[in-house]
Subunit: 221 residues, 2 copies
Amino acid sequence: MGHWHPFDRRGYHHGNLKEALIEVARRFIAERGIGGFTLADAAKLVGVTPAALYRHFRGREALLAEVAGRGFDDLAARLARALKGPGTPLERFTRMGEAYLAFAEEEPGYYAAMFAPRGKEEDACGPWGARFAVQADGGEEAHGAFDLLVKALRETFPEGFGGVDARFIALEVWALSHGIATLAAAGQLPTGPGLPSKHELLRAGVLALVHGALPGRREAL
Amino acid sequence: MGHWHPFDRRGYHHGNLKEALIEVARRFIAERGIGGFTLADAAKLVGVTPAALYRHFRGREALLAEVAGRGFDDLAARLARALKGPGTPLERFTRMGEAYLAFAEEEPGYYAAMFAPRGKEEDACGPWGARFAVQADGGEEAHGAFDLLVKALRETFPEGFGGVDARFIALEVWALSHGIATLAAAGQLPTGPGLPSKHELLRAGVLALVHGALPGRREAL
DNA sequence: TGTACATCAGTGAACGCGCGTTCACTGATGTAC
DNA sequence: TGTACATCAGTGAACGCGCGTTCACTGATGTAC
C-alpha cells in the first residue's frame, strides 16, 4: 500500500505494465549492464509473459529508447532543481555539477541507456537531440539538460567569457562531467591517499574550465 | 605480399591464429561494438573452426581481455611517441592530447574493449591497473599511459602546480579527454556553425585545466 | 637419410541454452441500447 | 438494470536462430636415434 510497486498485479490485466517494464528495465540495466538486459527476464520479473511486452513496445530497442528518454527527462529535472535552489549563482552552478554526478551514480541504469552506443538506428534521442536541443542562441526557454547548463553559465557569469560562446564552455563542462562519471562507473578512477574524489575532481575542474575562459585570463600561455 | 595478412593461411596449421584472432576481434568490435562481437564470426573470418580458438584463449572473455591489453599498450606507445618528439614541453604536451583523441578515433575497437564495463571478473587490467600503474610518486620509470601523462605534466610545468599533485591535474586531463572521446564516438558531440571540434575542445580545455591550477591563479573565485 | 614417435594445432559434429519474436487464442473491460 | 458486442491486454506454445563451449578425432610438424 502507499507506493505503487511494479510487481503488483491484480487480476488478468496488469494495469501498469508499460510503466512496470520501464521501471524493471532501469533496475536491470543498472545491475547487469545494457548487454545483460533481456526481455525474458524483465517480463518474468513483472509476472507477465514475454509476449505481453509487444502490446506496449515495438520490441527490445523501443523499450531501451524509452528508458533512455526517461533518463534524459530525469536528468534535466534534477539539473533544473539544482539551478532553481537558493544560493549565489556560483553556488547553484556548482550544485549542478554535483547533481550530474549524483544522477550518474544513483541511476546507472538510466545513464547506461542514455549513453550506450546506440545501434544503427537514427539517434532520435540523445543529449543534443530532441530532448536536449542545442539552441541556436539564447532567448527561448531552455528545456533540455544541455540548455539548462548553458543557461546556468550565462546566469553565473553575466559578464560573459570574453567573446567565447557559453555553449563552448558548456561542452567542456559536460565532457568533463561525462568523463568523470563514466570512469567512476567503470571503476577506473583510482582512489588512494592523496588522490581526489570524483566530486573534488569535478568541482576543481569546472572552476578551472570557467576560470580559464574568463576575460583577462586568455592572454597567458 | 610484404605485409602479413590475418586471413592468410597456408595449410592445415594456421601459424598465426592467435594474432589473427586478436586482429580480427579489434576490427570487429570497431564495426559492431563489443556486444556485437561473436567468436563464431571471428573464427569464420580467419578461416578456422570456432573450436580452434580454444587452443589459444580460455574463452571469449580472455580474448577480449587480450584485445584490451593490446589497446593499452598501443595507447601508451602513442603517448610516449608524442611526448618524445620535438618542440617545447608545452607543444609536446598538447600533442599528447591530440594523440589520445587520435587513438580513440582510429582504434575504436581497442578503445571500446579497454573501457567497456568489464564483467564481474577482476579488473586485472585497466587504465590504472597493471599496465597503467599509478605511481605513488615520481622517481621510477613511467610505463603506463597514465604515468606518461603525469611525467609530461611535470616536464612541461617544472615549477609545479602550487602544491597540487600533478596526478590530480593528470586525472582532470584524462577525464576530459575520455569524456570528449566517448561523446564523439557515440555521435553525441554536437557539431554546427560556431561549435568547436573535439580537438579545439580538448586543447582549450586542457589549457584551462592546467592554467587554472598554476601558482598565483588559485586565489580568485 | 630414413623411420618411429610425441607433440601440437587444427577439425567437425554436436550440445544445451536462451534469446527476440510471431501467432491464434482467450479472459476482462467498457460501452450502446 | 440487463444483455450484446467491440475492444483491448493478456496467454501459452512454438519458431528459428545463433551463440559459447565440449569432445573425440586427425592431420601436420618436429625430434631422437
